[in-house]
Symmetry: C2
Subunit: 117 residues, 2 copies
């Protein structure tokens, strides 16, 4: 079986990659919100830390009542307990990826996990 | 303590976010290679699945001897055992993020891990 899989980005409102790519350590979604739109609910998580990466556009997060400005290239980590809602800017769409991983699941990494071939 | 952290992207050759952002389920690096350059070694991993996301530009992966074309917006998952090396195109720089997570560490996700507030 191949050691890799590939997926080319989508402009759909939401694309979930876990099943499409056989991910086992994360769920990653690609999300595209039009100007003035928002994720229609506030949510938190039981076990998963989320990291958001803003591909393009701008908007804001509301996290535990704080307003956090979002611009292209920003990364945001949110602990499971953080109550979050993402809004596109009134005048700009926003595209982002959301990475869910289990909090505290990473052990060694980079130099301590790599094998040089 | 705040439930979130933010980092704005860097154009440095490599930026590692684990310590900067307090990540606990992933290491994420931001990488920028000039045209014609490559990661200077072939590597695999002990425990970590990697997911690469191509922010801009183009290039190719060589994975277990296969050539995999890379374009803006592509996602590539590589199992720990995959022997990988990333190359920028001869005529284009490439910018990408690399997400390391422990293979098989994700339990429930999305609807099964979320709490509506």
């Amino acid at each position: 079986m191949s050691n890799y899989s590939k997926f080319s980005s989508s402009s759909d409102a939401r694309t979930e990659l876990h099943d499409k790519m056989g991910l086992t350590g994360a769920e990653i979604s690609i999300n595209n919100l039009p100007a003035g739109a928002s994720v229609p609910f506030v949510h938190a998580h039981k076990k998963n830390e989320e990291i958001y990466y803003i591909i393009s556009g701008k908007g804001r997060f509301e996290i535990d009542g704080d307003k956090v400005e979002l611009n292209t290239g920003d990364f945001i980590r949110i602990s499971p307990a953080g109550k979050r809602q993402l809004f596109a800017d009134a005048n700009s769409p926003i595209s982002y990826i959301c990475i869910q991983t289990k909090e505290n699941s990473l052990e060694e990494f980079t130099g301590n996990d790599a094998i040089m071939c």
